[in-house]
Amino acid sequence: MSTKEQRERIELLQGTLDLLILRTLLLGPAHGHAIAKAIEFNSDDVLQVEQGSLYPALHRLIKRGWVSVEAGISENNRRAKFYRLTTKGRRQLAVETSKWERLAGAIARILRPAAQEGKS
């Protein structure tokens, strides 16, 4: 039971992480470290993601054909893998984004009246 429990939770997180990776790659191809940095920077360090969990997520996205890989040279002149958003991935990002927005909107609507109640 316990392993199952963890797995379910990770799946939940991964969904979000996938979305963030796709969004980051929309700006252009990047290598793994750069993606991690970008997510940290763009979320003002609010999202504390273990950098390692990036890799299972990336591989899953590759498997689904949303992200492709190419060889490249990093900014400090090293050979590195660059991840690029595919057309399919771009479409998926649109879907995921609208889904996320609807979810966030719904949660916000639920939370707002509760907050007002608390005030009065």
Binding site: E5, E8, Y55, P56, K63, N76
Partner: protein, 873 residues
């Protein structure tokens, strides 16, 4: 997949690079190299786990989950071994019975014949009004061979027994006389040596024989030297031409095949004697209808050429497989339906058990979905468990099937064509596998859907073990279905039982008790001439009659109820008025004078034969009551004359009772008239052919095991080359004649008993579960003054209601089904499909069993202690 390999190969390097970049960045921020690396590692997380999860991203999720579900399922079932055992055993019985019957249906009905392009093979028969499949005459067959274009090849054969007397102990062998081209028509060649050539179709050629692989191995120790050697069959030397491939078989297990032209000249020279079975291979693209059209044209020309012999003869072509399988196909399909019902009942039981269990597991699944398991995932988990159960049941079922089939074949050795190929093979395994899978999914789906739909909130909140009312509803429905299906099976078995009972009550026209029949192959040295043969049989019978305990004994060419046939045309008076085919036909018994006493057939008028009726005295015949009533309605037949085709015009000396030759339940449409001729009065030319067919019948109060050694003693006393074989009591013959009813009756009875048992377990389970659920209610009732008897009656009543509803539905279904079955088969005899005795008694049995099954839970309910029950809150 290659992409996956490349991606994973470089994964470790990618991770190292990533950590190094982070370290570099940290150093640039001013940390010491050691601190920088440590921080980078911490930020990255567990490297091993990351690598593992990344690999998992590439692995096939469903296989992994399946394995997980499987191991979880096995653990869950092992925690509850009683539950699992009951389910597995129930399914093993259901799947086993189905697999057993399927293996029979496959081998007998579905499997193609074991020859190349078997669907092109046909049997060609002559036909006359009322007789659809009449054996052909050999001269007619030759005309067909010459004048038809529809067939690629055509061959003729007759079945014949041989006594092999050279090279070792005398042995009785089954065989065939065939025309050249017989093996080629079937598409088979001898494995060693060579086939017959058209030369062997000519009379007076070299007697040649082709032997089976089995005979070659047992008699000639598989020696290649056997080819070209000669063996002594019925006193004639035959040269071994060839050995057939192992496993070759055509209709019967024959060991020797000789050429037709070497056989009895009467059988193949006379156009009016119909003794030939004809097989043919249709040319590619020629349909049976086209071939039949061509055959009728040939038959019409024969009609014009030979009006006496062939007037009014038609032709009839039957696919070889249909001919061999005969009408058991319908019976087998019926049985397949019956086992299907048993399986449904078994599934209903299992579904019931799973429903109870899923009720108990509602909380477990609520917790799972609360933790994020999707509904599909829960359903899949439950289905994995039920399929696991079904597969285990299926494996056990295969064992059940194997045992059941071998038991059935031992019980009914001759009743199924092609029985030699019945067994567990790949198609049967596939069948067992697929019904196990289907069953697992079918009975798993309902409880699974129910559980997965359960309301998480309420299930978690209530400390209760699950919702009960809705489950009880589905369970009751399942019990009603079980009861209905069981009643259908019981009615089927009951009707067949009544049919057998009806058949047993039929007077066969002779006394079937205390009679043993057997055949004796007289030494060729004793049967060189016709008069020698007559003498030899007379002496043999004299010796047998002198054995202590033998009351009467004599021989006959056809044993009643044994399916042996010997029909032919006759005329009242000396004048032949019409063609052979339009003349009335009778069944001819060629017997000795003591035959009537031996069989205890009643003599109605005149006398039977005496030893004084010989080849030299006036030809006389005895006729049966049916013939007498049909052709001598207003006169005394005794003293009248009848002409027997191929024999004499003979005087009628007596009238005897008719014998039910074609089966106890035979409607009497085929050859109902019977004529007795004394074997000793047969013409010399006919003696060899009929002597071979003779069976000895012995009336004795002793049992077979006591009398037969004495018989063998006197037979062997006359020479070492006389085998005794085909020993059967008349009772065995009678039983075998009812095999077409007995086989389905016994199997249906077994299935009905199985269904009754499963259904009673089912109703017991449901009532007992409902009592457990209602303990508090019962406690309240008792506290409020309900008597034990009332509670008892209430529970029994609950069960009885289910049983009665099921019974009503079942009776309606059984009425329709029985009518359907009786419309296309001859299984029922002496009972109507809606036989009230069967329906009432079967309903009583089912109700009784249902009440018994409810008795235990009812007693438990009536003994509930109200104080204990109420405190259970």
């Amino acid at each position: 997949m290659r992409r996956r390999k490349r991606m994973l190969e470089e994964l470790d390097q990618d991770i190292r690079d990533h950590i190094e970049m982070e370290t570099q960045e940290n150093i640039e921020r001013g940390l010491s190299p050691e601190e920088a690396r440590y921080a980078a590692l911490r930020k990255f997380g567990n490297v091993t786990r990351v690598a593992e999860e990344t690999r998992a991203a590439w692995s096939s999720m469903w296989i992994e989950q399946l394995l997980q579900d499987l191991s979880y399922g096995i653990r869950a079932l092992r925690k509850n071994p009683g539950f699992a055992t009951v389910i597995v055993l129930t399914l093993a019985l259901g799947i086993g019975a189905n697999t057993a019957i399927f293996s029979v249906v496959r081998a007998v009905v579905l499997a193609p014949l074991p020859y190349p392009q078997p669907d092109r093979l046909v049997m060609v028969w002559e036909s006359r009004p009322n007789v659809k499949t009449l054996s052909a005459s050999y001269p007619d067959f030759l005309e067909w061979q010459r004048n038809t274009r529809s067939f690629g090849m055509m061959a003729a054969l007759t079945f014949r027994d041989y006594d092999l007397t050279s090279a070792g102990a005398p042995q009785h062998l089954n065989g065939m006389e065939v025309s050249s081209g017989f093996f080629a028509t079937l598409g088979v060649e001898p494995a060693k040596g060579h086939d017959f050539t058209p030369l062997e179709d000519l009379p007076h050629g070299t007697p040649a024989v082709i032997i089976s692989d089995r005979l070659w191995r047992t008699r000639f120790a598989s020696s290649p030297q056997a080819l070209g050697k000669s063996i002594l069959l019925d006193g004639t030397e035959y040269t071994i031409f060839g050995v057939l491939p192992p496993g070759f078989r055509f209709i019967s297990d024959a060991d020797v095949y000789t050429s037709l032209a070497q056989g009895e000249p009467l059988l193949y020279n006379d156009r009016t004697i119909h003794a030939i079975v004809s097989i043919a291979r249709l040319k590619p693209g020629v349909s049976i209808g086209q071939a039949e059209g061509e055959m009728s044209a040939v038959q019409e020309s024969l009609d014009r050429l030979y009006p006496v012999a062939d007037g009014n003869l038609g032709a009839n072509i039957v696919p070889l497989k249909q001919q061999i399988v005969g009408d058991v196909g319908g019976t087998l399909i019926l049985l397949l339906g019956a086992v299907g019902i048993v399986l449904l009942i078994a599934c209903a039981n299992v579904a019931n058990l799973l429903l109870v269990r899923s009720a108990a597991r509602t909380r477990e699944f609520a917790i799972r979905s609360a933790l994020g398991a999707s509904r599909a995932r829960v359903v899949r988990q439950l289905l994995t468990e039920s399929v696991l159960l079904a597969m285990t049941g299926g494996i056990l079922g295969l064992i059940v099937a194997e045992l059941g089939v071998s038991q059935m074949l031992a019980e009914f050795p001759q009743s199924l064509p092609r029985a030699e190929t019945i067994g567990v093979n790949l198609p049967v395994l596939l069948f067992a596998f697929s019904i196990s899978l289907a069953v697992g999914i079918a009975f798993g789906l309902a409880p699974a859907r129910k559980s997965s739909r359960a309301d998480v909130q309420s299930s978690l909140k209530s400390g209760d073990r699950g919702s009960t009312r809705s489950h009880l509803g589905s369970q009751s429905a399942l019990v009603i279905i079980q009861m209905a299906l069981t009643l259908v099976l019981l009615v089927g078995a009951g009707l067949l039982l009544r049919s057998i009972g009806g058949l047993r009550k039929v007077n066969p026209g002779f006394n079937t008790h205390h009679v043993v029949t057997f055949k004796v192959g007289l030494s060729p040295s004793l049967t060189r001439t016709a008069s020698d043969t007559r003498m030899a049989y007379q002496q043999l019978l004299d010796r047998i009659r002198r054995i202590p305990g033998v009351q009467a004994a004599d021989f006959t060419n056809i044993v009643p109820l044994s399916e042996q046939d010997n029909g032919g045309p006759f005329w009242v008076g000396p004048q032949q008025s019409t063609s052979m085919q339009d003349a009335p036909h009778a069944l001819y018994f060629e017997t000795g004078p003591e035959y009537l006493n031996t069989m205890e057939i009643p003599l109605l008028r005149g006398r039977f034969f005496t030893p004084a009726d010989t080849a030299d005295s006036e030809p006389v015949i005895v006729i049966s009551s049916v013939l007498a009533n049909t052709y001598f309605r207003d006169q005394d037949p005794v003293g009248q004359t009848i002409t027997v085709a191929h024999w004499h015009t003979a005087r009628v000396i007596g009238v005897v009772g008719n014998v039910r030759h074609w089966g106890l339940g035979d409607p009497g449409t085929y050859n109902p008239s019977q004529i007795y001729i004394s074997f000793y009065q047969l013409s010399d030319q006919w003696i060899p052919a009929f002597a071979r067919a003779l069976s000895v019948a012995v009336r004795t109060p002793l049992d077979v095991a006591t009398i037969m050694p004495a018989v063998r003693n006197v037979v062997y006393g006359t020479g070492g080359d006389q085998p005794v074989y085909s020993v059967r009591t008349m009772q065995q013959v009678v039983s075998e004649s009812m095999a077409s009813q007995r086989l389905p009756m016994i199997l249906l009875a077994v299935f009905a008993a199985l269904a009754l048992f499963l259904a009673s377990v089912g109703i017991y389970g449901v009532i007992s579960y409902s009592v457990t659920q209602r303990v508090q209610e019962i406690g309240v009732r008792m506290a409020l003054g309900a008597a034990k008897r009332q509670i008892f009656k209430m529970v029994i009543g609950q069960g009885l209601r289910l049983a009665l509803v099921g019974l009503t539905i079942g009776a309606a279904a059984a009425l329709i089904l029985a009518r359907l079955i009786s419309s296309f088969s001859h299984l029922l005899y002496g009972v109507g499909p809606s036989d009230p005795v069967t329906f009432v008694s079967v309903s009583l049995v089912l109700t009784g069993v249902a009440v018994l099954a409810c008795y235990i839970p009812a007693r438990r309910a009536s003994r509930v202690d109200p104080m204990v029950a109420l405190r259970r809150e």
